[in-house]
């Protein structure tokens, strides 16, 4: 296979920090820690999300993720996953910051157990509080343009609309509104949750968003390392296609070969 051509693109910049990879991956649901480490490497991601949880004191060999990931080499983004109130999300964010890695947080306040859709009112409330405490807030939200604008106004460092519900693998269900959010916001827009396979990631990046955050699509693939690699390529392909500017859609065929010069 010929070498890929390296084309010009500015790096993804969030809160003054630059990332060459536009793919951010989660660290949950892997069958083993080794599989997680190998999949992260294959994905090329420079930032990964982690959750804050109680240490299981009854399991003597319980190991935190820091036994497997070197925070000097990969940027850890603590999340507030599982929180259903602004108060809980703020508490988890503070605990994540106290681990001493950074003041970044992936803010997630869930409003409904079945769909895991965000409670956008509580998310906005928590975002304001965390921004006032100096956090760099990357806020998970739905594809609602008005909420996205409010989260940006609240001082979020990135706004992260979903492609479809967390862990669903349904792909990008609302490209129109995701495009609109990207068009209207000045801060980075990262699509978070819902991609199922590489084509979903590619189509998502073709909307012009700044990056994608995913977990389940890689972790639950039969071969997570291979899927991580596929996602890496798909994100690059989608980004390149967006920058290239696609041809217009037409309702009729237009021949690719000249009409002139046909034999009589």
């Amino acid at each position: 296979m010929p070498e890929l051509v390296k084309l010009e693109d500015h790096p993804l910049e969030i809160a003054g920090r630059e990332f060459r990879s536009r793919l951010i991956v989660g660290t949950g649901k892997y069958r083993s820690n080794d599989a997680m480490v190998d999949a992260i490497a294959a994905s090329g991601a420079e930032m990964v999300t982690v959750a804050v949880r109680r240490i299981d004191l009854d399991r003597t060999h319980e190991e935190g993720i820091l036994y497997h990931l070197d925070p000097g080499r990969i940027f850890l983004l603590p999340n507030t996953a599982g929180c259903y109130t602004a108060e809980d999300a703020v508490r988890y964010a503070r605990l994540g910051r106290a681990a001493g890695m950074s003041d970044w947080v992936k803010l997630e306040v869930i409003g409904d157990q079945r769909t895991l859709l965000p409670d956008v009112i509580a998310t906005l409330e928590a975002a304001k509080q965390l921004v006032s405490e100096g956090f760099k807030v990357l806020a998970y939200t739905n594809e609602d343009v008005v909420t996205a604008l409010k989260l940006e106004d609240a001082g979020c460092s990135a706004v992260m609309p979903l492609a479809s519900p967390i862990g669903s693998g349904l792909g990008l269900v609302n490209p129109y509104f995701v495009r609109e959010i990207k068009a209207r916001l000045h801060c980075p827009v990262i699509v978070d949750a819902g991609v199922g396979t590489a084509s979903d990631a590619c189509v998502t990046m073709e909307q012009g968003v700044d990056g994608i955050l995913m977990n389940t699509a890689i972790a639950e693939a039969s071969d997570p390392v291979r899927m991580a690699h596929a996602m890496r390529l798909a994100v690059v392909a989608g980004r390149e296609a967006y920058l290239a500017g696609r041809m217009p859609r037409r309702e009729v065929a237009v021949p690719s070969s000249p009409l002139a010069g046909m034999l009589a």
Partner: protein, 67 residues
């Protein structure tokens, strides 16, 4: 012995322990643990000087895999 609540469970521990000593008794490395002591996050520099007292509520958390 005194009773303290650690991660939601009541435990009996010897009186006079510091937070650092409690973590050691539990087999934990203080640098990998975040401690919430009676709902206040405890700065790691204060683990040594903070006594564990009867009725205290401690949450010991760390990073795990998540999305």
């Amino acid at each position: 012995m005194i009773e303290v609540t650690v991660n939601g469970d009541v435990r009996e521990v010897e009186p006079g322990l510091s937070v650092t000593q409690l973590l050691e008794r539990l087999g934990l490395q203080p640098r990998l643990v975040v401690v919430e002591h009676n709902r206040e996050i405890l700065d790691r520099a204060r683990y040594d000087g903070t006594p564990v007292e009867a009725g205290d509520n401690l949450e010991l958390v760390h990073f795990v895999g998540g999305g």
